[in-house]
């Protein structure tokens, strides 16, 4: 289960859908990315990790993305949108205050990087926001 980076570099965009082979391909690519993230994280903290565990974590992450996709779609539709935005992603993490706060500050970074956001500027970036006021504020659209 050795994985090297160049498996990901020859990633070419696939726009055709609805094939089990496509879905397998996507899953395998996802797993490869997940495995390289897991291995680099293990290396960073000086731990060794046995390959079956890495594969297991990659599978977990794939299950998680399936659930996440459904959640995000549900949230976007509930807000009357056809397109998923950053608030949907933050709402999907609302059970975990720290995670939500971390995502919120990351989203502020992303917003700051591309200042093309037109009307949702009502919230000033608060980096140290610990999310006590747990509600994610959702701009009225």
């Amino acid at each position: 289960m050795e994985v090297d980076e160049d498996n990901r570099s020859d990633f070419e965009k696939e726009e055709e859908e609805e094939d089990d082979s496509v879905s397998d391909l996507l899953r395998d690519r996802f797993r490869l990315s997940a495995i390289s993230i897991a291995e680099s994280e293990a290396k960073r903290s000086g731990m060794e990790i046995s390959p079956p565990i890495v594969a297991c974590i990659a599978d977990l992450a794939f299950k998680y993305i399936g659930q996440l996709a459904k959640d995000l779609e549900l949230f976007a539709h509930h807000a009357g949108r056809k397109s998923v935005t950053m608030t949907d992603v933050i709402v999907s993490a609302h059970r975990n205050e720290h995670l939500a706060a971390s995502l919120r500050s990351y989203s502020d970074e992303l917003k700051a990087k591309e200042p093309q956001s037109e009307r949702k500027r009502k919230k000033v970036p608060r980096k140290e926001d610990k999310g006590i006021d747990g509600m994610v504020n959702i701009p009225d659209l």
């Binding site: 993230i37 994280e41 974590i57 995502l103 989203s107």
Partner: protein
Amino acid sequence: MDDNEAPTFEPDLIRAIFKHIWIKKAQERERNGFPNTEAGDSEVGAGTSKKNRPTSANTNALKLSCELLRIFITEAIQRAGTIAEAEGSTMIEPTHLERILPQLLLDF
């Protein structure tokens, strides 16, 4: 928590996976909810009627999803690593993952 050279997910890959799932669901909706419109015309997802068009995601939302998934994986490793360390080992074993898994799944 994030250093820049650490690998992460490709937003394009995440977009493709999301799209795949959403198109499947849109087709299901079309089949179930609107039996009169299932003329088999829209198998490639670009739904004909506005109502059945699959969901899409904007770029920043995808980046944020990448970050969320990355945190999921790094948390799994970190927590399992903490247990392994507490047992005086530097090898993460299946039992360590088993120990942290319930709380991890509750947290995400």
